[in-house]
């Protein structure tokens, strides 16, 4: 009996040891238990490298000695790390912080139906809102919460994490402000006088406090597992100044921060299991010999040539010169046009274009649905008594025709949204009594993070209430349009306001609508054709926006290397359904395509499909004369050659062995494309454009009832923020109209703008390789799964552990940086 017992104990011990041994062989064997992430806005990898290699004349060391020491000598860096999608802070940080495909696609987004503006850079209103108990999180976090995408910091409990003010900021800590403000004023009187003379740098008040906090807590608070530090200084300087000296000052400041954090970590008890990470969201396109030149798209759209639009932006034009800009809480900035062809003086009610130009090398433009314009023009004409007889009949018929060709889509929208809003309403009703029971303020028994959670829930409900109200207002106009009768039109028994929603863009425009966009009536007004019907060709002014944009030229062509064409190309999505019948089977994609317009004969279709191993595949198809007419798409395919958008074929840095023509004729996996193009001028543009313009469904598939309806509504909301046109600036051009950004810009797919930074160094237990520069290219989607794998929180298939799954994390689509993992 005793022997048997002993044997059983022995067996158990062996099994336990075996299990422990197996565990040690798992990826989590690299014992990263604590993360310190240094997030730097707009820090290009190539730029850091250039300065790390530059020697200081006095010391003989690198001018960025700490980056050299920590990441070059004692860590691993990924020089070919790229932004996936637009090189713009809002989307890029969103992708880095969630590890999922792009859901937020601009620093500013507009809801086409309600004109609700999502301003993800709205920091000052956030601070005020938080102070007034109105908001809890930055707008980006609110959106991600609604679509149930957790952030990296959410993987750690409130007590286990320290976060800095940033774009995706959850909650807020007044102590950081308070301590930062106090620390700005040196105790020594001579230092205080000097600081006063130098000018107190309020912009860095919290940034420097975050550094002090992290440096202190790394040693004193071993219970904290996650730190992030966010510094936008380099991005700020780089937009303004193109000289290396000014930028180096900002970089040296960052370098010292890295040094202090590293030193503090080395002195802490958890140095061995800590990983320090340097990451940036995008690069920067800048040259010391060139000023970046601005081109005013708002002015263009407001001009007669551009369609006479009343334009909405989220940033005030010439902000620094406007008295109104002193008030930072204005939701939408309206720039009325004196050249509007049918909406003179109605900028307050009927804007017809929305422009987001942040990042400045790109701009997203929404135009009001062209059919709404046609209806609006016709209804205005029909309100005039001198439109009579056959012309009146024809105009009414044209109105009815517009309604009929949209009827099925409008009905579907109305029906589905009515369902979705009802579900949302029921959720609101369910939540209200719960919220009433919750404490919104920190008390002795309610910690601040619990109060924040409670307020967060309350804000979600309040936002849902506002959303429901706004969306229902838009649906009411759809209802009215669907119920519109010809006889009422003839008899002028309608109010335009009831039929054409104010402050709404309606559904997105098709390619055909954008090529033949109706901007107003012709000077002669409505005209009948030979059959007595309205002659649409002669009755309406039209603009082909693709051609208009690409034809823009400037006169002052003064800088070598900067062309007189401010716009490089225009891109838009082409629905898969429209491609059916236009391509042979072997070219047929399985999702929407991206059409890039660089001129009538310089166009490309980017086709994508899921490959046999599940990896995305792309085909770069040169085309010309793509047109959509009567809902039918036509184009001619062209042989690959020089001059097509993205200019891969002629790029000297294209890494394709052998016959380039043959290579471009075939489908290639994302990995193959990345290897071929990442060092080209437009780097990973083909992948980035697809990421940017593709829709990425989110959420769980097994939901039922209200949960499923609300999830569908949230997906609809994301779709409604998608712009009609993505406009890319030529090299060293930008679309900033808020001010001037001569130093440089980003937002494009130029390698200078997409080459961002990812470096990692750790203690002995992390086993992160030292002195390793990885040549393999990676993009933003790789960041989060790599860190989580190092921490043992996801498996080899990028699936989260059960605990992480319960927190809301799902499989991560990105490729893990495998070189960091030591066998």
């Amino acid at each position: 009996m005793i022997l048997r017992l002993k044997f059983t104990t022995f067996k158990r011990s062996v099994v336990t040891l075996l299990l422990l041994g197996l565990c040690s062989l798992a990826p989590s064997a690299q014992q990263v238990k604590r993360l310190v992430i240094i997030k730097v806005d707009g820090l290009p990898g190539y730029y850091v490298d250039q300065f790390v290699r530059q020697r200081d004349r006095d010391t003989g060391k690198s001018v960025l000695p700490w980056i050299d020491e920590v990441f070059y000598k004692n860590g691993t860096r990924i020089p070919n790390f790229y932004t996936r999608g637009m090189s713009l802070s809002g989307p890029s940080w969103g992708e880095l912080d969630t590890g999922q495909h792009l859901q937020i696609k601009g620093n500013v987004e507009f809801d086409r139906y309600t004109l609700h503006a999502y301003d993800y850079l709205s920091i000052l209103p956030f601070y005020f809102g938080y102070g007034l108990n109105k908001v809890v999180d930055m707008p980006g976090v609110e959106v991600l919460d609604e679509i149930k995408l957790p952030l990296l910091c959410d993987a750690f409990t409130y007590d286990q994490r320290y976060t800095s003010p940033q774009l995706y900021q959850r909650g807020f800590d007044w102590a950081q402000w308070g301590s930062g403000a106090i620390a700005m004023f040196p105790k020594d009187k001579n230092d205080l006088i000097d600081e006063w003379t130098l000018g107190f740098n309020f912009r860095r008040m919290t940034i420097e406090q975050n550094e002090r906090d992290i440096v202190g807590k790394l040693v004193k608070r071993p219970d904290i597992d996650y730190y992030d530090y966010y510094d936008p200084s380099f991005d700020h300087v780089s937009h303004h100044n193109n000289d290396p000296e000014s930028r180096l000052v900002a970089l040296k400041e960052l370098d010292r921060t890295i040094g202090r954090i590293w030193t503090a970590d080395q002195q802490s008890s958890r140095a061995g299991e800590t990983a320090i990470v340097l990451v940036s969201d995008h690069g920067f396109n800048s040259s010391p010999k060139v000023y970046s030149q601005g081109f005013n798209l708002v002015k263009l759209l407001g001009s007669a040539e551009g369609g006479g639009h009343h334009v909405i932006t989220k940033r005030r034009l010439l902000l620094d010169y406007a008295l109104k800009s002193m008030y930072p809480f204005i939701d939408l900035i309206r720039t009325g046009s004196n050249d509007s062809f049918y909406l003179q003086g109605q900028a307050g009610e009927y804007p017809t274009a929305l422009v987001d130009f942040d990042g400045n090398e790109r701009s997203s433009i929404h135009l009001r649905n062209a059919d709404l314009n046609i209806l609006h023009i016709l209804l205005q004409q029909l309100q005039q008594k001198d439109v009579k007889g056959q012309l009146r009949e024809a105009a009414a018929d044209a109105c009815v025709a517009v309604v009929e060709r949209n009827r099925s889509q409008w009905q579907q929208t109305r029906d589905q949204m009515t369902e979705e809003l009802a579900a949302l309403h029921r959720w609101i009703d369910r939540m209200r009594p719960e919220i009433a029971r919750l404490s919104m303020k920190k008390t002795d028994t309610v910690p601040s993070y619990v109060a924040d959670n409670n307020r967060r829930l309350r804000e979600q409900v309040e936002r849902a209430v506002a959303t429901e109200k706004d969306e229902r207002a838009y649906l009411a106009t759809l209802e009215a349009l669907l119920a519109l009768k010809r006889v009422d039109i003839i008899n002028s028994k309608f109010k335009i306001d009831d039929l054409i929603a104010k402050d709404a863009m309606g559904d997105e425009n098709t390619v055909g609508q954008l090529q033949d966009y109706v901007v107003g009536p012709t000077p002669g007004g409505l005209v009948l054709d030979a059959t007595g019907q309205l002659d649409a060709g002669k009755s309406f002014r039209r603009v082909n926006y693709f051609q208009l944009l690409i034809d823009q030229r400037v006169r002052n062509n003064i800088q070598p290397g900067v062309s007189n064409r401010p716009i490089d190309f225009v891109a838009t999505r082409v629905p898969l359904a429209k491609l059916k019948g236009t391509l042979p089977a072997e070219m047929m994609p399985d999702s929407d395509a991206v059409w890039i317009y660089g001129g009538p004969q310089k166009q490309v279709l980017i086709l994508s499909r899921s490959g046999t191993n599940g990896e995305e595949e792309y085909l770069y198809l040169p085309v010309e004369n793509l047109r959509e007419s009567g809902g039918k798409l036509t184009f001619e395919t062209r042989k690959i050659g020089e001059g097509f958008p993205l200019h891969y074929f002629e790029d000297a840095a294209l890494n394709v062995a052998g016959d380039r023509t043959a290579w471009f004729d075939a489908w290639h996996t994302e990995t193959e494309w990345m290897h071929a193009i990442h060092k080209a001028i437009y780097s990973n543009g083909i992948i980035g454009l697809t990421e940017q313009l593709d829709q990425h469904p989110f959420g769980d598939s097994g939901l039922t009832g209200d949960e499923a309806l609300i999830q569908r509504f949230r997906q609809r909301q994301r779709r409604l923020t998608e712009a009609d046109l993505l406009i890319l600036a030529s090299d060293h051009w930008n679309f900033d109209v808020r001010g001037f950004n001569p130093g440089g810009n980003h937002g494009s797919f130029f390698r200078a703008s997409t080459n961002s930074t990812f470096m990692i160094a750790g203690g002995d237990a992390t086993r992160i390789p030292r002195g390793l520069a990885i040549t393999e290219p990676y993009d933003s989607l790789s960041f989060m799964p790599t860190l989580l794998r190092l921490m043992g929180r996801i498996d080899d298939h990028n699936d989260p552990t059960p605990e992480m799954y319960r927190m809301g994390y799902r499989r991560f689509p990105g490729k893990v940086v495998s070189e960091v993992f030591v066998p």
Binding site: D56, D58, G259, D320, V562, F740, F750
Partner: protein, 680 residues
């Protein structure tokens, strides 16, 4: 190349040669950013850019001064026949006659165009509301130029000066009549402006010289310090700036100035583009564009006749409705442009010829907006704008006797007016364009690629835009510069001249070795009350000279240590360790009189360092500095149980030794030391 009316063949050949040399040197293309300039972007026939840096623009020369000093002079090179290089600026470096760099001290800075006004000029400068020049200084005399700034005691328009003047105005000036008050204020303003122009000119010159690849008789740090000190002259507490912060001051100013420049460059380009005008930046020899010219083409005058014109930011009259331009008989240029509107060589196939009329010239290094410096149709335009701020101040101060401290209605009214004009970027009531004018004059004197006729046209118009009767015309200034330079050299060679002044200055510097703060304050008051006629000085005995040598070296090493303490996260990684050790060795040997801040800096370096030698030297330095703060730092190290024991023991030993030697230590720290002694 442009075809320029009256352009000299010599200049054209010169530019071609420079272009050719530049092209040859560019064997390997420099990769700018993501994209290289493609052949398509820059057709072969396009006019090549001027070299960004022209190291040959300047020459520097060092002249020894008896008593252990030297004058460094920067010259503008002149390449024309019978031309000699033009002296621009000189600076005195007091070396104490040895090769030790640590005890060198930059003192006086002279700008050779800055001169004492004549009696007529002074009288003119006193006339209220006289905003124009009257005469030039024809006879320069034999005096050296006045000092623009003493870099060692850069008090600038310091707080005491400001307070004294405010009190004087308030107490005395209100009692006298309008005439005296207006005259005094007018003269003071003109005098101050004359110095501000000199400071701006010196600053511009040094920044261009600094960026050029020419000779380096001034070290990088000296050049930065000089620019920082000059930039501080207009700040209330500018003279107070501690040496260790001069680098930050320089960095801040550099970033700010370049921000203004780029911003205004782009603002002006966009506004010109929108109005259909031609924008042309003018580059300094260092490649920086600090000015720009707007042109209109003759063809556009006909095409756009009667078209709306938006003058905001441009601040010129509508060219499309200006009949004067249709009959223009002033300066014109003819240029050729290709199909992409890029300027090309004359008669390039397919190129279009355009005749250009200059409209205005702007300064770009100005806060908020590009400021118009020359209006080729209306000389009075920039002058009126420059006058607006001045006239408003003169009327309110001299005539209406209003001041911001005098009453709330005026205070608020003025505040709102200033705020609105500044915020909207209206070119009235803006900060003065003195700096831009000074830069323009520098450009005109340095840029030989400018068409001589155009340069003369601009120079003539600039002169007539100036408000200050104390200023001189550019053509006279060159003569003044040459004579004043010669006078300075004579002054330096005269044993009763600069060497004597140098000796007096050193004797004055020695006062701090002998006297307490209270005594020094009393000496200063005496100096003030005797209107500067009496100054207390020490005898320059060998012992005092030796003390000065050590003190200057100590100042140097204190600065090194403080700068490092401010920035380091670990000196072994981010610092020139040899330089730091050198300074620490000096402090530990001769640092008795080092300041408290230096002691704190040693404590910080000790904490940040893991190098045994550095730490050891920090403790030795803390022991050597005879101050309570230094001992407090040693006590703190001793009491810090995270510091390894051997360092704590060393601290304890130093503390005990300090007590034995009777060094200054607080009572509380002395008690702590006593405890150490007891426990040991």
């Amino acid at each position: 190349m442009r075809s320029i009316k009256h352009r000299s063949g010599l200049t054209r050949v010169g530019v071609c040669v420079i272009t050719l040399v530049f092209a040859i040197l560019q064997v390997e293309p420099i990769r700018l950013a993501a994209q290289d300039v493609t052949a398509a972007d820059t057709p072969a026939s396009t006019i090549a850019p001027k070299p960004a840096l022209d190291g040959d623009a300047f020459r520097a020369e060092t002249t020894p001064v008896a008593g252990g000093a030297e004058i460094v002079t920067i010259f503008s090179r002149r390449t024309g026949e019978n031309e000699t290089d033009l002296p621009l600026l000189s600076v005195l470096r007091d070396t104490l006659g040895d090769d030790i760099l640590e005890n060198d001290r930059l003192r006086y800075l002279w700008l050779h165009t800055y001169t004492r006004p004549t009696l007529t000029q002074k009288l003119s400068a006193m006339v209220p509301f006289l905003y124009t020049r009257t005469t030039n200084k024809d006879k320069v005399g034999s005096k050296p130029p006045p000092v623009v700034i003493d870099l060692h005691s850069a008090k600038g328009g310091g707080i005491w000066n400001t307070l004294f003047w405010a009190a004087f105005k308030r107490v005395l000036m209100d009692e006298v009549g309008f005439g005296v008050k207006a005259t005094t204020l007018q003269y003071r303003q003109n005098k101050g402006d004359q110095r501000r122009v000199a400071v701006a000119a010196a600053l511009s010159l040094l920044s261009v010289f600094h960026a050029s690849t020419g000779e380096r008789v001034l070290s990088d740090q000296e050049l930065k310090d000089m620019q920082a000190r000059l930039g501080l002259t207009d700040k209330v507490f500018g003279g107070h700036m501690q040496p260790e912060n001069l680098g930050r001051m320089y960095d801040n100013d550099l970033a700010k100035t370049r921000d203004y420049r780029g911003h205004n460059w782009e603002l002006l380009r966009q506004m010109a583009e929108r109005q259909g005008l031609i924008f042309e930046p003018l580059e300094m020899p260092d490649g920086s564009a600090r000015h720009a010219v707007l042109w209109v083409t003759e063809d556009d005058l006909a095409t756009n006749k009667g078209k709306d014109f938006e003058a905001r930011f441009l601040n010129i009259k509508d060219p499309w409705k200006d009949d004067k331009l249709a009959r223009w008989n002033g300066y014109i240029e003819t240029r050729w442009y290709d199909a992409d509107d890029r300027e090309v060589e004359p008669q390039t196939p397919g190129a279009t010829k355009r005749t250009l009329i200059p409209l205005a010239l702007y300064g770009l290094d100005h806060p908020k907006i590009p400021v118009i410096l020359v209006d080729f149709r209306d000389n009075g335009n920039p002058k009126k704008r420059e006058m607006s701020h001045r006239a408003l101040s003169d009327v309110t101060n001299s005539v209406l006797a209003l001041s911001s401290a005098g009453g709330l209605p005026y205070f608020f009214g003025r505040y709102v007016y200033d705020f609105v004009t500044h915020r909207r970027g209206m070119d009235v009531n803006q900060s003065s364009r003195l700096r831009s004018y000074a830069q323009l004059k520098l450009l005109l004197s340095l840029d030989e690629s400018l068409d001589p006729e155009f340069r003369n046209e601009v120079a003539h118009r600039v002169e007539s835009s100036t408000l200050n009767p104390l200023e001189n015309d550019s053509d006279v200034e060159e003569h003044i510069a040459r004579v004043q330079y010669k006078n300075l050299m004579d002054y330096a060679a005269d044993s009763n001249g600069l060497p004597a002044k140098l000796r007096d200055d050193r004797r004055q510097e020695m006062v701090r070795f002998e006297h307490s703060t209270a005594a020094k304050t009393a000496f200063n008051v005496g100096h003030l009350l005797t209107l500067g006629m009496w100054t207390h000085r020490e005898d320059d005995t060998p012992d005092m000279l030796a003390q000065m040598d050590v003190r200057r070296q100590l100042d140097y090493h204190e600065r090194v240590v403080r700068e490092i303490a401010l920035r380091t996260a670990g000196p072994e990684i981010d610092t020139d360790v040899a330089k730091l050790k050198h300074s620490l060795v000096f402090l530990s040997a001769s640092g008795d009189a080092a300041a408290n801040k230096t002691a704190r800096a040693l404590g910080q370096i000790f904490a940040a360092s893991s190098d045994e030698d550095l730490r050891s030297l920090c403790l030795a330095g803390l022991y050597k500095i005879n101050s309570m703060t230094a001992k407090r730092e040693l006590v703190a190290i001793y009491q810090n149980n995270k510091v390894p024991d051997h360092w704590r023991d060393t601290s304890a030993q130093y503390l005990k030794l300090a007590i034995e030697k009777g060094q200054r230590i607080s009572k509380q720290d002395a008690k702590t030391v006593a405890t150490i002694t007891a426990s040991n």
